[in-house]
Symmetry: C3
Subunit: 139 residues, 3 copies
């Protein structure tokens, strides 16, 4: 079974879509036990699994990665050459290399075996709004 | 075929469980050729594959990540807000975002196609002892 | 269906092999819709998906990771202990921990659902030439 999730982003940050995935899983006529794979079809955003209890975890994650990979206008990043798509573009590619492009999650009795605090997020690294496509495979 | 490995940790560091996985694979009545997926059900530890020959590789990995993401009490991390679960908690979430939550390894003739030096590790990022659950799927 | 790609590298850098994978997929007598998994059988190189339009993205990625994880002869890395395999060896293990060892890509109608700009790369972290084996599973 395959599907494509379409997610609208409005700037850099984490966008949780755990419930969208869970709803698709419960509606789809696929195996009750299997493996779910999510794959993001872009090179400037990521798929991550992180705590979904305290929103400060999300803002702290953003703060860390923004310090590790600042905009290309920042003095420490003056070595970057791919700058013509904006100061947030090459850092977005770097962040997308540091974080997953695909996630594989076992499914048991129709539900992902996520831990209690685990949520699925699209991590948008670009500043401008985007529509992000995430391919899903259940097998 | 699914399984859950339960791993006891006693502080931050790498815990190899390659042999636990190999033993399960050799005992299970699943496909001889397929795909093994491991998924850790937590947001403050990681699953990695690394060299299992020289133990100094493991201590060097820890040293690198502890310098890249020091405790939240460290001056360089004073921007962190999620600190009430202890100085090692938010850094653990960051490390868990920098390293895999899931690993997929092809299986041929009942054995993982690991390279000669590849071992499977749980990388514990928390200081206190934990029991970590790793879901396995063989399909 | 399984396969092994063999890739020759001649120093650190990104080596695209998207077309090798696409050719194998189009020739193989496997499922037209399924999941492709690539797994690199080494601990000092990585598999990544990144933009394949502007080559400067690739050189900028290298530049970033070489600054984040300099050779063990660099003053900032003097804490490393695993140095007897050369100044590029332990940094290679660290980079291989920061980037994926496996990638999972859904396949629809015999083709990977890669986005327009997504290419598949072996990221070689060692300086000396190597032959790198990448196991593929299509299920």
């Amino acid at each position: 079974m395959t599907h494509e999730f379409s997610l609208r982003t409005s700037g850099a940050g984490l966008y949780e879509f755990t419930q969208d995935v869970a709803r698709w899983l419960s509606a789809v006529d696929g195996p009750r036990d299997g493996l779910l794979t999510l794959f993001v079809r872009h090179t400037s955003c990521s798929l991550i699994i992180q705590e979904n209890a305290d929103p400060e975890v999300q803002s702290d994650l953003r703060a860390f990665f923004d310090r590790l990979v600042p905009p290309s206008t920042h003095a420490s990043m003056s070595y970057l050459r791919h700058t013509y798509e904006g100061p947030d573009d090459m850092p977005a590619h770097i962040k997308a290399t540091l974080m997953p492009v695909s996630l594989s999650i076992p499914v048991a009795q129709g539900r992902m075996v996520l831990g209690t605090w685990q949520g699925i997020y699209l991590f948008e690294h670009r500043t401008a709004p985007h529509t992000r496509r995430v391919a899903a495979h259940l097998g």
